[in-house]
């Protein structure tokens, strides 16, 4: 099975760099806010998974999630929330909006990779 394409949506350059290091076996697409993410999704029809930060400028994670779930082209793409939110309520809102899973920052590499493998059916 070919490596799955992952869209990283986060306003932190540090996190993008971290994901590049961590997910070398996956083709990655990068976006720094929700609006840019929608553009990247439209350009890349073969995105298999989205890693989504919650707090971002222009369009936050929850708004992007709702936009994706309301669009027939993107609604089946699994979304993993990558959040610093300590609030269970915030995480639950994301899950209610259709997120497939969540990982809290700071996370261990193996923890994130296990979630990605589970959702994409891929092995590193």
């Amino acid at each position: 099975m070919p490596p799955r394409k992952v869209l990283i949506v986060d306003d932190s350059k540090l996190l993008h760099r971290m994901f590049e290091m961590m997910l070398r076996q996956y083709p990655l697409v990068h976006a720094y806010d929700g609006k840019e993410a929608l553009e990247r999704l439209a350009e890349n029809g073969d995105v298999d998974l989205v890693l989504l930060d919650m707090n971002m400028p222009r369009m936050n994670g929850l708004e992007l999630l709702e936009a994706m779930k309301g669009d027939a082209r993107f609604k089946k793409i699994p979304v993993v929330l990558v959040t610093t939110e300590g609030s269970e309520e915030q995480t639950q809102r994301g899950l209610d909006a259709g997120a497939a899973a969540y990982v809290k920052k700071p996370f261990r590499n193996e923890e994130l990779i296990a979630v990605i493998q589970r959702l994409t059916g891929s092995a590193a």
């Binding site: 540090l14 290091m21 610093t84």
Partner: protein, 248 residues
């Protein structure tokens, strides 16, 4: 009571003697066979079944050991990756604002700091200013207000003086960690972590390396960016002046 004993024929004594000899011979052979089996058992050790069981146990032990080592290597790789990315990102820009953002991102995303303050001494060293803060409005200590650290936390005061990294719990201080920021041996400020996210109970041993890295690199990266920024601004001013002179 009368017991009738059959009359012994002439052949019977001979038959008994033959049977006795045969029995003695059989017993001798059984003894030899037993001895041989014992010697064989001593020479060949455990039976094949036991041997296989022992080997299987060894393989299971090896597998468990390899799994343990693999988990250790993965953790080690993760730690090194964090250190590499943090260093890379601190020195990836000469924009002071971006360097400060990177310090904040390291505190939040890699250390799990929910509340923190980035402090720098002002130019004349009389006041410690809050260059960047997160969650400080919820800090009840009153030490951090109006964009300044007024002093009073013993751990922060000590680190700002002696440049030693301190990790909580510290008597009389609410700080989880106080990281000195030094340039060429001089303490120019400190990163004070006041609270971690709820899902991160405490700093882990590997976080210490990241704090050390911040102590070593954050201030120098920020200092270099500020110097570049000032120099660049002066250069642009001079270029504008030269343009004006040329036009005049």
């Amino acid at each position: 009571m009368t017991v009738r004993v059959p009359k012994e024929t002439e052949e019977q004594p001979q038959r008994r003697a033959d049977a006795l000899a045969e029995l003695q011979s059989t017993l001798a052979r059984a003894g030899e066979l037993l001895l041989s089996l014992e010697q064989s058992a001593r020479r060949s050790g455990p039976t094949p079944v036991n041997e296989l069981q022992d080997r299987l146990n060894d393989v299971v032990q090896d597998r468990d050991e390899l799994s343990r080592r693999l988990a250790e290597y993965e953790q080690q790789t993760g730690r090194l990756m964090n250190l590499y990315v943090a260093t890379y990102q601190l020195h990836a820009t000469l924009d002071p604002g971006e360097v400060q953002s990177t310090i904040a991102e390291i505190a939040t995303n890699l250390l799990g700091a929910e509340r923190f303050a980035l402090l720098f001494w002002n130019a004349d060293g009389t006041q410690c200013e809050i260059a960047l803060g997160q969650g400080l409005s919820q800090d009840a200590s009153g030490f951090y207000s109006a964009g300044k650290y007024g002093g009073g936390d013993p751990a922060v005061d000590a680190t700002l003086t002696d440049g030693v990294l301190r990790m909580g719990p510290i008597d009389g201080s609410e700080a989880v960690a106080v990281v000195p920021l030094t340039v060429q041996g001089a303490v120019v400020g400190a990163l004070v972590i006041l609270k971690l996210f709820e899902h991160k109970a405490k700093l882990r041993p590997e976080d210490r390396e990241l704090l050390d890295l911040l102590a070593a690199h954050a201030a120098s990266a920020l200092f270099a960016a500020r110097v570049y920024h000032q120099t660049d601004r002066k250069l642009k001013t001079l270029e504008s002046l030269i343009q004006l002179v040329k036009r005049g």
